[in-house]
């Protein structure tokens, strides 16, 4: 039970952290200042959510293993290697252009919105509290990214074409989110986790509604990429971690 809760918390943390890191790459590079700030604000919210989940995981790990070197939010973020990260592959993909970054954020926020709505009622009080807090933030993320998907899809010929290409790039990475990993099944069985399968229809409905308004075509069902939840990642995650973890790896325990 405890190990399941640890794994589940790490999964939620990893998703938020890796997407936060990817979005933060836009800092100073956004198409206009206001939207650069918007995306980095979202990045910061996700980082905060990741911290809450890591702090909880660290606390559980330390209760389980009082004699070991204590885990912390920092050790979990900075000192685990690729195969220990459980984030979905879509979060680690390179940003692509602005349209692709926006579309990924929209897919991700649509999922988080549904997830946190359920998790707010989780039997685990800490997970429920993090979800309650985060849901308010994710509402802004979802509205902002929905508006941008529509604006770009139903915009100029160029923006429409770029969104069509982004959809093609990303679609096969959306299935993994709803494919339950063993630790998710265990978490559902233990009573505190949310079954990802139960979110799929509502997610599809939301995505269809927004893509249609954006004059984009919902792709036909296809073979989906999986593996991230089991630590089998694309080559991209190693590069993300190399940049993110460099300082702590090179100068252990360095602080500001």
């Amino acid at each position: 039970m405890q190990q399941t809760l640890i794994n589940y918390s790490l999964y939620l943390a990893d998703n938020s952290l890796i997407l936060a890191q990817r979005n933060a790459e836009w800092c100073g590079h956004g198409p206009i200042l206001e939207q650069d700030i918007a995306l980095t604000n979202i990045s910061l919210d996700l980082l905060g959510q990741a911290r809450s989940f890591y702090q909880y995981a660290a606390q559980l790990i330390n209760t389980d293993n009082p004699s070991a070197t204590p885990a912390s939010e920092d050790s979990l973020a900075y000192l685990r290697d690729v195969y220990n990260f459980r984030n979905c592959l879509i979060t680690e993909l390179p940003n692509g252009d602005w349209g692709q970054t926006i579309l990924r954020q929209f897919f991700f926020s649509s999922w988080q919105f549904l997830l946190y709505q359920q998790m707010k009622l989780s039997s685990d009080q800490t997970l429920a509290a993090i979800a309650e807090k985060s849901l308010k933030e994710v509402t802004y993320h979802l509205r902002w990214s929905s508006e941008w998907v529509i604006r770009l899809g139903d915009g100029t010929e160029e923006s429409h074409n770029k969104m069509t290409k982004a959809l093609e790039e990303l679609w096969s990475f959306t299935g993994e989110i709803f494919e339950p990993a063993p630790f998710e099944k265990a978490a559902v069985e233990a009573g505190f986790g949310i079954d990802p399968v139960s979110l799929k229809d509502a997610w599809m409905q939301k995505v269809t509604e927004i893509l249609q308004e954006a004059t984009l075509t919902v792709p036909a069902p296809r073979w989906m990429q999986t593996g991230g939840k089991e630590g089998k990642h694309s080559e991209h995650l190693g590069f993300v971690l190399a940049e993110m973890q460099f300082l702590q790896r090179a100068y252990p325990n360095a602080t500001w």
Partner: protein
């Protein structure tokens, strides 16, 4: 004993009046409504705070400021803990705080009924310009210089301004 505890609890609340938000320095942490509880037991002070936004970097600075303020007034044992639920809302901001924000040039948060809805492309709240008091304003961006603010511009006096968004 209970009297002594009551007095020191009140003292701690009074001391917290002097701790300000590093990003919006006109606001004290009591104005913001982020201090949820204060307990004094056997010389140990416990202050329970709640973050405004999950990733708000000011929270670490605020924790440190609370600790320094209490230490410098003789409280040697200080615990600061964070709670997430119930989630912070701008409803907890004091009226005095809202007035201070306005005077500082930041539009204070509206009442709760106008909190972020899922309606797309809609200005879901009317925000008053803190400079000329006009209600004829428009939102430039949902997100501003800190997590708690969005960007507006006044259509009458044309000044851009921050809005401490309803949350």
């Amino acid at each position: 004993m209970s009297n002594v505890t009551d007095i020191s609890t009140r003292q701690v609340w009074e001391l917290l009046e002097a701790v300000t938000d590093p990003e919006v320095p006109v606001l004290t942490i009591l104005d913001l409504g982020i201090v949820r509880d204060v307990k004094v037991e056997n010389g140990t002070v416990t202050v329970v705070i709640t973050p405004t936004y999950s990733g708000c970097p000011a929270m670490d600075v605020i924790s440190m400021s609370i600790r320094m303020q209490l230490l410098s007034h003789g409280y040697k044992q200080v615990n600061i803990s964070q709670v997430l639920s119930p989630a912070w809302t701008t409803d907890w901001m004091s009226e005095a705080g809202k007035e201070k924000l306005r005077a500082y040039g930041i539009a204070p948060p509206n009442p709760t009924q106008s909190v972020c809805s899922m309606e797309l492309f809609a200005d879901d709240e009317a925000v008053q310009c803190p400079h000329c008091s006009s209600w004829n304003t428009r939102r430039i961006s949902e997100f501003g210089s800190t997590a708690c603010k969005s960007l507006f511009q006044c259509n009458d006096c044309h000044e851009p301004f921050d809005y401490f968004k309803c949350h």
